[in-house]
Amino acid sequence: MFINLQAYLTFARLAFQRQNAYRVANWAGLFTNIFFLFFRASLFESIYPSGTTIGGLNVKQALSYVCLTQAILMVIPQWGVIGVDEDIRSGQIATHLSRPINYYLSTLSQRLGSSAFFLLFRTLPILGIGAFVGFLFLPTSIARAALFLLSTFLGAWIAISIHFLAELSAFWMESSRGIKMLFNGLINFFSGMIIPVTFFPESVRQISRFLPFEYTLNTPTLLYLDKGGNVLHALLAQLTWIGILWIVCTILLSYGERKLVVHGG
């Protein structure tokens, strides 16, 4: 199967440019982001009994964890719309599906394009601030930083696919808002955004290992901290989930398409 890479790169580039037009809004969002960085980091800053290691992390690592997750939560979308719901409800989806372009891939590329924007204008500033105030320690090597970036890319893919799936529900319901709310809640929690996954009790940890959510934020973060166990296993797990979600999205999309044809949207 020949994939029109150039087309998808164009989708990504256009999305990046579109996001770039809203730079002012981004500064406002960054402002809020920074507040939340302090909210969440302050908690661990003050509750760690000195010199202890809890859930496998010492206080500096825990703070870094918080800083990292806050830095990449726009790159690896923890909430937000990616346009599928809107397309379905407006009927535009029929146009998109009739084009010789894979709708899943094009939507993915667009959101990844936006992610690239956020990588530059959210992640970097927050990492900078985090390092400045002492929340974050710098990566031990360039290799580790590169690993972090790769894992972030994979994590973004997973997260976007999950949102794609959630928004597909608009085919069968008047609004996907309810399902999205549910998924958002699950992503926010299991990804480690609210508290590091390492602090989950073992019983919950067992469950989350079999869900895709922790492979969005948690995996790249732990890889950065060199606490993610075997690097290859971690990346493989992410790739596996990408594969699974891709297949599920494609299947559901085809069901939705069929419904469109039969019922006329």
Binding site: I34, S42, E174, G178, I179, P201
Partner: protein, 264 residues
Amino acid sequence: MINLYISLLMAQIKGQMSYKKSFVLELIGYLVVNIIDLFVIYFIFLKFPSIKGWSMGEVYYLYGVASVSYAIAQLFAESLEKVPELIRTGEFDHFLIRPRSPILQIMPLSFRLNRIGRLIQGAIALSLAFPILQLELNCEKVMLFMIAVFSAVIVYFGLFLAGAAFCFWTIQSSEALNAFTYGGVELSKYPITIYRPWMRRLFLYIVPVGFVSYYPAIAFLEKSDPLGGPLWASYFSPVIAIIFAMVTWLFWKLGVNHYQSTGS
């Protein structure tokens, strides 16, 4: 006036209920999302001994009050978040043509019944707190609780209003106020002593979300205050809340004026 508000509200709810499936799902979804948050506190206390001298029960109390207050404020004021959209589409003009206050007309617009999920969650948090704390409820404590909720509701309402007013000058930057609305409730979940001094001072004295959540709570829970605040601080909360709300209301009026003078 209240009559009108209720009618507009009923109409909104009726409109929402016409989307039955989503309505139920949203109700459930929101409840689940909020319940998960309660587990987060539990998980933290499984691994950590205390939060700056606060026990799990005490944190649940603080959290419960914050949630209940925010939920109540949200039920009334969340529609104010629609103001940027209303300005953009020109729909805001419709409110100026009618002989009523725009705030009153906007408030029922986006009344989301599912926000009750957070109210329920707050109630659950409180019901978890009380058996753990084994406190004796007396008149004073009930008063402190009501003061806490009342003051917090007013401050949150003021924050929503300020957020909306901000949009009259710049639509794109409106998200910045989320740092104080969502941030406010996030911050109120935990004792304010855990935050760095600058943040503590900001949320105690300027955006008094911290003030109205912290002081009534330590009075209720009979804890000592490492910040050395006066004993009457908790009873002062309603006053502070009302003053804050009035300031934001003035800011709103300035905003409407600006809108009418520049036609942005």
